[in-house]
């Protein structure tokens, strides 16, 4: 179970606090996975008492004309917590602080995954939408076979592609607005022959390309092992799923980031005997 308690001495209007928290949650705590199980108790709360605010100052608020975005639209357009005009500068600044703060808290949870030995960032880029990129990232993060390979330091990129390939929303959620907008002819968004996968080392050294546009690279297994020995690892996936001709640089890219860990023997030991 995930629990989170966040307290601040900023003054926030009661009508705005849920929107701020939801917005921050969508890109932070809702973007982590340890074992793929969603608890019955997950809760994150935000308390704001205004104790540090100067006397007479107005509480942080969303402009009255704005309503919180419905959840599906939020997922499709996560760059703003609201639908229209930008909120005032203080609200925007606080929302940025809250999001960054919650990202750091969420990452700590992943670092403490039961039995985990690795902290894995999954970064997926899509030409079409954040939504498509996130679903691919989630599918990789939930794959037990990807996670056991990471534990075993096996650069098994085939399992990564496999996990993207069965991500249900990419193939089937054509009823959602973001998918419908690109037309029936593009219902199948991800073309295996356009996809690329790399490992990005945590030490800033050059990425190790595993697959480029659907074609496997000759992988330097020694280098792969070196990268997989590190505690932190990034898996970078380029879906290359836009309508632009192959090879042309995209102007806009949507990026989903998800954090997960590997899957070890210790996880089974802990959870095979939890009630007692």
């Amino acid at each position: 179970t995930l629990l989170g308690i966040i307290c601040t001495d900023v003054k926030i209007a009661p009508s705005a606090v849920d929107s701020m928290l939801r917005y921050a949650t969508n890109r932070t705590f809702n973007c982590i996975s340890i074992d793929g199980d969603t608890s019955t108790n997950d809760t994150v709360t935000l308390f704001a008492n205004g104790a540090a605010a100067p006397e007479g100052i107005q509480p942080l608020n969303l402009p009255p004309s704005l309503k919180p975005a419905p959840e599906a639209k939020n997922a499709a357009s996560p760059s703003s917590p609201v639908q229209k005009d930008p909120p005032n500068r203080d609200t925007q600044a606080f929302t940025a602080v809250l999001s960054s703060f919650m990202t750091d808290l969420a990452k700590l949870v992943v670092r403490d995954g039961e039995g985990a030995t690795k902290f894995v960032t999954i970064r997926v880029r899509s030409d079409i939408s954040y939504f498509v990129a996130k679903r691919a990232a989630v599918s990789i993060a939930r794959s037990a076979l990807v996670k056991t390979a990471l534990y075993g330091k096996d650069a098994n990129w085939g399992r990564i592609l496999c996990a993207i390939g069965y991500a249900p929303s990419i193939m089937h959620d054509t009823g959602l607005p973001i998918i419908r907008s690109i037309g029936e002819g593009h219902a199948r968004l991800v073309e295996p022959e356009r996809m690329s996968v790399s490992f990005v080392p945590a030490d800033g050294s050059e990425e190790l390309k595993l697959v480029v546009r659907g074609e496997p690279e000759v992988v330097d297994e020694g280098r792969a092992k070196e990268i997989l020995e590190m505690e932190d690892l990034e898996i970078l996936v380029r879906l290359d799923d836009g309508p632009a001709p192959e090879g042309r640089e995209r102007k806009t890219q949507h990026e989903a980031v998800f954090w997960t860990c590997d899957f070890s023997h210790e996880y089974v030991t802990i959870n095979g005997d939890y009630r007692t």
Binding site: T1, G4, V17, D37, T40, M102, R111, R142, N271
Partner: protein, 209 residues
Amino acid sequence: ERTIPAAKQKYVPTAGSYPKGFLVGTSHAGVKASNTSNDDITMVVSDRPCTAGGVFTKNIFKAAPVQVSRRSLKQMANEGFRGVIVNSGCANAVTGKLGLEHAHIMARETDQCFGDVPGDEVPPRTLIMSTGVIGQRLPIDKITAAIPKAHGALGSSHEHWLNAAKAICTTDTFPKLLSRTFRLPSHPDTEYSIAGMTKGAGMIHPNMA
């Protein structure tokens, strides 16, 4: 006393900047029978009524504390809250009507620590969280006995916050606590703080709204 693995110690802060007006306290209830010494009750409160928001699991089997807290936030329109009471060791999930009653009792018991006891027609001013084993009843008497002790232990030091972050843990190997200061553009002379603690190590794939 749980020991923190050497590799994880770098994630545990040794100091912090905590928001004004918030106090935290912990106590031992022994919710899980095998826990004979670690604190498992955590209270986080504001010294004045405050704005509160929450995001909750979308799992359809929402635990009793989730249901009660959601209802309180809605009924109170996110204002007038004092804080949150947390127990670790038992999730109070899939526990039926009695579970809901237990969650309500935890909130009321915490409200009583502040003297101002609203009638039953008014929602509690305390939110509730529980974590641990699913499908077992809360040992509510142990918890109600420990709540005043957590209130008695309230404080605002780094040690208080760190102990609170430890007391909400279950299979976690280290307490997860962060704090930060920041300023807002319209009045840059004012320094604000934000602090937070989190727990979780397994059954983690949150989908909250």
